[in-house]
């Protein structure tokens, strides 16, 4: 997924990537929860 050399990133960029992924994981969690709760979508 991240095909970049992390060592070359600035501190700022590194943290931004970390939180970008973090937020996306939260969204996926949310999607999973909704999918398990909801019925079948037409």
């Amino acid at each position: 997924m991240i095909d970049v050399n992390l060592e070359k990133l600035t501190n700022e960029d590194l943290l931004e990537i970390y939180f970008e992924i973090e937020n996306y994981i939260k969204k996926l969690d949310n999607d999973l929860e909704n999918a398990s709760k909801d019925g079948v979508k037409k």
Binding site: M1, V4, N11, Y18, E20, E22, V40
Partner: protein
């Protein structure tokens, strides 16, 4: 690069969103796929986290700062030794007896445990000198004798807890509310009786201290200064403490940009420049200025001590040999009272002549009250006489502080006169503050200015630093501005320290953010 990753996430998300969820099979497929992506994301995030942790550790590559207990102990020992070897105080001060007896007579009015602890300590002090006391030594008053008989009959480890001692105290207290005061002056009489032994002991200990430290008084003081300087240097150069201040939020990295530091220099240095390196050549003088300001703040805090001594010193001739008469009177009344006490003890044993006994008790009580007053007067006069005998007109401010510090009872009296409330803790804080001040290796002018001279210290400081192109007005030193000057100098020094420690502002920002938002220890 960030955009690339963001776009990748959007693309993955789009694929997931386009997956059909219209039946149970598709739904299950969708859930499996989301789960798979999630696991992948966690894996990728871990990779990033490892890099974050690597950088965090490399910035914070330092061991936790811990106070060197051995060094602290060495400092305490030397400070105690300096008090003991002082030329200014008597053996009773040196061994800490003045402090114990003062406490006994003035504090803990309602705390019998503390009273008993102090009595044990006073007995131990005599033992240290080679004098073993027993109940017979406490025949100053019949009440004191009765209490001390009980006291010595109680095993040492139980003296502060045993109930019988408490009930004995309560019984006697109602007959003689001044019981503890009389035990105190009993100790004083015992000390005066054994003064030579105390002198000999003190002289021996002083000789031992010089041999142990392999130097004289000045050398021992110099050793203390060196230890304190070493301790501060270790602390000042410690990377862990610098980082901790930022991590704990005590300092904000945004205050340490070159622009902001230049502004601070601009307020302090009269020769303006755009080159921070030129400004930094002033740092050694700025550190000295900071020390001078702290010294002045400390001096101002304790100037009431100088005023108190000056007041007595102005009429010092009045106090020449002033204790002679008090001592004569005390000796006379003490011997009279002791004789009466013997009679009382005999009559008590026979359990007759009740009227005579009561009459004698009344006389001795009056005598003891007079003796207590005489001792209080003696203490006061002794301080004045010491000022007459020991203080010289060319003594420095520091000499006066050291003189007062060496005489515990006088010091406490001066502090009590100064403080609005006579809380024991406040007095102790003041004593410890004074100790730190007189043993500070950073004092400069208090050791050079004569106490009788009327110096305008802020003006002296201001003039001195103006010559070095440092802007500091007299009124800045005497107002609350002084705190902001300290703050500016601290920031300037820390800015230089950060570059010496190879800590950039981006590094500090990074670790602060990581510390605030990611709990690294939970992950790795």
């Amino acid at each position: 690069m960030i955009e690339k990753i963001k776009n990748k996430i959007v693309a993955i998300d789009e694929v997931l969103n386009n997956m059909p969820q219209n039946n149970a099979r598709n739904k299950s497929k969708y859930i499996t796929e989301v789960d798979k992506v999630k696991k992948l994301c966690i894996k990728e995030q871990d990779k990033v986290l490892i890099e974050i942790k690597k950088r965090y550790d490399s910035i914070c590559d330092t061991v936790e700062y811990k106070e060197d207990e051995l060094q602290n102990k060495a400092i305490d020992n030397i400070e105690q030794q300096l008090y003991f070897i002082s030329e200014l105080n008597s053996p009773v001060d040196k061994i800490g007896m003045t402090e114990i007896l003062y406490r006994l007579n003035h504090f803990y009015k309602n705390n019998l445990n503390e009273i008993n602890k102090d009595i044990i300590m006073a007995i131990d002090k005599f033992k240290e000198v080679g004098i073993v006391l027993d109940s017979d030594d406490f025949n100053y008053s019949v009440y004191g004798l009765e209490y001390m008989q009980n006291f010595f009959d109680t095993p040492l480890e139980e003296t502060t807890t045993r109930k019988s001692l408490k009930s004995c105290f309560e019984k006697i207290y109602w007959q003689c509310p001044n019981l503890i005061k009389y035990i105190d002056i009993n100790f004083r009489m015992l000390y005066r009786k054994n003064e030579k032994k105390f002198d000999m002991y003190a002289n021996d200990q002083i000789k031992k201290a010089f041999i142990e430290q392999d130097t004289n008084r000045e050398g021992i003081l110099e050793k203390l200064y060196q230890l304190k300087l070493q301790k501060d240097e270790l602390k000042n150069q410690n990377k862990y403490l610098v980082i901790k201040d930022f991590l704990d939020g005590n300092k904000k990295i945004d205050d340490y940009t070159e622009e902001k530091i230049k502004q601070l220099y601009g307020n302090l240095i009269s020769k303006k420049t755009d080159d921070i390196k030129v400004y930094q050549t002033y740092n050694p003088e700025l550190i000295k200025l900071s020390c001078s300001l702290k010294e002045y703040q400390q001096y101002s805090r304790f100037s009431y001590i100088i005023d108190a001594v000056k007041t007595i010193y102005k009429e010092k001739d009045k106090y020449k040999d002033i204790t002679k008469n008090s001592l004569k009177e005390i000796n006379k009344l003490e011997s009279k009272t002791m004789k009466l006490n013997k009679k009382i003890i005999k009559l008590k044993k026979k359990d007759k002549a009740k009227f005579k006994l009561e009459n004698l008790l009344l006389i001795t009580n009056t005598n003891l009250l007079t003796l207590n007053k005489l001792y209080e007067e003696l203490d006061k006069n002794k301080s004045c006489e010491n000022i007459y005998n020991m203080i010289k007109p060319n003594d420095s401010l520091l000499d006066i502080f050291k003189f007062v510090f060496a005489h515990y009872d006088y010091l406490v009296e001066v502090i009590k006169d100064h403080l609005e409330e006579n809380n024991e803790n406040d007095i102790l804080t003041e004593i410890n503050g004074l100790k730190d001040f007189i043993y500070s290796p950073y004092n400069y002018y208090v050791g050079n200015m004569m106490f009788l001279d009327e110096f305008n210290i802020p003006m002296v400081i201001s003039d001195h630093y103006k010559l070095l192109n440092i802007n500091i007005a007299e009124e800045n030193i005497t107002s609350i501005d002084v705190d902001s000057i300290h703050d500016s100098i601290d920031k300037i020094i820390l800015f230089e320290k950060l570059s010496r420690m190879n800590l950039s502002t981006t590094d500090i920002k990074f670790i602060c953010e990581v510390n605030k938002k990611i709990k690294l220890e939970e992950y790795i």
